[in-house]
Amino acid sequence: MRRALLTVSVVLAPIIARAAEPPAVPAPPATDTTAIIMFAGFVLLTLGITVWAARRTRTASDFYAAGGSITGFQNGVAISGDFMSAASFLGISAMVYAAGFDGLLYSIGFLVGWPIIMFLMAERLRNLGKYSMADVTAYRLQAVPVRSLSAVSSLVVVAFYLIAQMVGAGQLIQLLFGLPYGTAVLIVGALMILYVTFGGMIATTWVQIIKAVLLLLGATYIAFAALAHFGFSLDAMFDAAVQASPKKAAILSPGLQFKNPVSIVSLGIALMFGTAGLPHILMRFFTVSDAKEARKSVFWATSLIGYFYILTFIIGFAAISMVGQDAAYRITPGNSNMVAIFLADAVGGSVLKGFVSAVAFATILAVVSGLTLAGATAVSHDIYASVIMRGRTAEGREVVVSRIATIALGVLAIGLGLAFQKQNVAYMVGLAFAVAASANFPVLILNMYWRGFNTGGAVLGGWLGLVSAVALTVLSPGIWVKVAGFHAAIFPYDNPALFSMPLGFLGCWLGSILTRHSASARVEAARFEGLYVRSQTGIGAEGASAH
């Protein structure tokens, strides 16, 4: 039990300082009836939406991209929902609680990828893509090698992300609801399979929107109630936090969590550019009607995510003095991810606590649904339809494969969630971002901007980025020392992106230069013209209104 609780803090907040051994951990709470009733309400509502979405899901376009029917605002809310995971709500507020200033670094890093997506990618993605991010590269490069690469890196990103979410879900729900770990993992897996298999992207998007609205409302209430407690004076809140924190004024300075400057910069790179290479995020750009709506999506997403991270900061910081010294909560390293829930209890009593717990459960469901859909799309649209069937398959058949892949991925996610229950999975979200930044981002951006980019470059750069990100993570302290138990890490930094992303770009350049005289590379360079005109104007774009 103690070990499981200890791991929660690790899963949800990879960087929370882990004290050597927690003192007496309070017993898991008795079954929280308020929370369960509210969660049941959410499940009924979302299953209703799934039934409605299933009726509207007829074609492949409906299944993968909601038929292009999502508006920019709706998509922006859904994207922000993907980022407001339980890990960022509970994990970041807990990080701020434990490490003060350093807790801000994660939230800022998660946000600043969005301007980059806006300025360089969003409109072009919409104009070039169809269902999966590989559509954008396969537009001018050879389908089989680039789709194989993209599918594998997507599945790697999705798998690591899913494991972190499932293990986090099981342990969180154990704490919040008093349900056994295995039951929680099964509930999450089963509901996610239902949403995605029957409701496709339409259901996945609306589940995400509803959850995002509920979570924003809950977090806004907690943060404002906490600010009111300090008479809306930041100075008073900071003063009280310094008085109450065992670390005193150190919480106002960098360094409690991140000690190594190179690791800080490397993490910054992974968070910023990883966002621009996450398959389940990029897929959302194909659900809107045109480039203009894609832009609006990014603006709403950036605003809502930024606002949300300001709220989580206030929640974490206010908690230091408001619940940190309260004997009723007895915060230990084992339950420190609960500070947002404890603060909800402190400012709103058991009803607000139940509401926030139910929303935290809902948020895991919504995030794993989006991940699973992205993984299933990589399997059906990229591997099955293009690599195995070489494009000779009916759309309906592809969707059937996608639904089977969803069920398989859901079962796999449940299995992984159970298998990794006792493992340290802290590195996994960081690894997902590092792979996205090192394997996906260089290929996507060079494909859109560099005429001389070709299949040779994509293959060399993409695989080099993927392999180096994974290998350096294995050799880093997070796995080599903490998981494998070796004495010293071979690669000394916690995040590989500072090295693996440049390696990815280097591979893209080298591969392109080495193969530039081949016949296929010449064809691909010539095809850049068509890609460029379409990316700028949207002429010929998928699902675009008739021109």
Binding site: L111, S253, A291
Partner: protein, 100 residues
Amino acid sequence: MDDHACARLRATPAFQELERTRGRLGWTLTALILVIYFGFVLLVAFAPSLMSTRVIGTVTLGFPLGLGVILSAILLTGVYVLRANSRFDSLTRQIVAGPR
């Protein structure tokens, strides 16, 4: 669209203005957010004592700067959308309508 049509479109003044203005705005704003973000990250990594300077009562410099990074990310994406809605869309419509 065939190569010939592509080349013809690219030669139109509207297309050239679109690629020039959008390119300039996109890369300028990209450079700005990179400088703002990595400026902040480098300060945190290499000048932690500066970030610990108290500026308003107990509040240290790092917090308003961090808030500034968040707000500038929102502001810059807003600038892009405003500019794109007013100028890029009308240029795109001109290009799509074709030279008349």
